[in-house]
Amino acid sequence: MTLPANYFDYPFRRPGMDHDRYLYSNLFTRKPVVWPGDARIALWIVPTLEFFPLDMVAKPVKPAGGLERPYPDYWNYTLRDYGNRVGFARIFRALERRGLRASVAMSSRLAERYPHVLAEVGRLGFELVAHGIDMNHIHAAPLAPEVERQWIETCLASLRRLSGQPVKGWYSPAHAETSHTLDLVADAGCDYVCDWVNDDMPYRLNTKAGALYAMPHAYEISDLQIFHFYKYKPAQFIQQVIDHFELLYREAASSGGRIVALSLRPWLSGVPHRIQAIEEVLDRLLRRGGVWSATGAEILACWTAQQ
């Protein structure tokens, strides 16, 4: 076996990134931003409601929670479905009782299948974020750009029509993108994406359709990472989120307002033995003071106005 001829070519070995999607930026040398009410932390809660079809194929990327037992995998189908029937209600109630805002990422197939869930999003005044058609539509190579464009338009058209919201946020299923996703999402009228986990603040992405912004979707304090991948207990979830929050809270005193993104999946966080940990985290963050609960669109608007 030999190496390809270009194995020692380094075409992007120059200042900046090895692509043109965004500029390098040191988090600690940026202009500080000020949140409403001089809050130190913008709390961005992202309940993520996903439809996993029974006949899904886990290719080319198996999404976390994707069905993998031989068909018909009722075990995993119903566990995920539990989240969209019961779990989400616990999470929404926890948010409602505390007067919190949220950006709900949702598969468009779920919005079509479960109008009650979408109605609850509307009733509570939450922002709706597009989360693809369903978890069997993963945006990953070698997906053809014209097919991907159709998927994105189908998803957005459905969510916009059913919710009456403009739907300006995009979160790709499984954090997966093709090299065209950002261009297509911007072209479809979105303002921000939630797929990039490389920052604690928003930053600008370049696309063929103009600017798009990456919102900081903290992955290591997501319930997906903590419960599903790390397999930690609820007490560790509390510890990890609070430690994350406290560090950013401290940084905010000198570096300007920070963002804490809480990514919650109802099939993980909405189960009876975990919901109390989620509630405790919310209570502890709110007791701290200096927390601005907002949607992604609100946080982004506040941030961009100060750039």
């Binding site: 190496l3 120059r14 200042p15 997966a176 490389n198």
Partner: protein, 306 residues
Amino acid sequence: MGQEDPGLYDYLAYYDRPKISWPGGARLAFWCAPNIEHYELDPPPNPSRASWPRPVPDVLNYAWRDYGNRAGIWRMMAAMDRYGVRGSISLNVAVCDHFPDIAAACRERGWEFFSHGVYNTRYTYHMREDQERALIEDAKASIRKWSGQELAGWLAPALTLTEQTMDLLAEAGISYTLDLFHDDQPLPVKVRSGRLISVPYSLEINDFTCLFQGNATPNDYTEAIKAQFDRLYLEGADNGQVMCLPLHPFLIGQPHRIKQFEAALEYITSHDKVWFATGREIASHFITHSYDAFAAAIARGNRQQG
């Protein structure tokens, strides 16, 4: 193809070794090795290892690592500054070209620069000797350019090697390798010409193996670091030991881990008889004061084994 044993070192019994005496009568040489890396979005493929678990662009995994260079490194560095712990950076040398501010911050702190290849997505597997020699020369020139230092240490990019790597390092004047995990003390490495030693790095208390692969909580990780320190410190009363703390800013620099990282540094720096050194200083001290005695002990062991 292949051989049964790396052929890079001979057996040396753990008991009755020559004594290593670190400066100031320290029991333990402690060094901290942050991996300053860049993983390319779309690198050329290596026949033996895929660059990313998902199809390119693997946005999730690329961005996770990129977090280290945007945010994590600065927090990690501030914590090390707070406890006066110097770094010896395991450097993908292209990071200096991409992010000169990172190179400057390490240089200003007087940290050691050693090589971890060009990118963490350019694996050494299947390189011909001339190609691997060119890689080593690239690293030497880059590190001289960006730090003013002569390259002394090598941790293969993504820990990918060939059977020739150690020989080529020695021929290029590199003095220590970090890719061998067979001991807690520096030891001679058998090479076809020149001289090379192994210096203990760690895959046991590496944040990558503990936090990323091992699912350790931040507290678990700190407890592991402390336990590793306690035992080596104890044994160091008889014979000088080495403890390396290898780090990755995209992991240790996450907000929820900083408190625990600081607790580990607080614990270690609260002890006396610890030599806070760089990889180069440890290698140089061993070569000057202990290499010959260890080489002689290994030769005696070989004769006894016939």
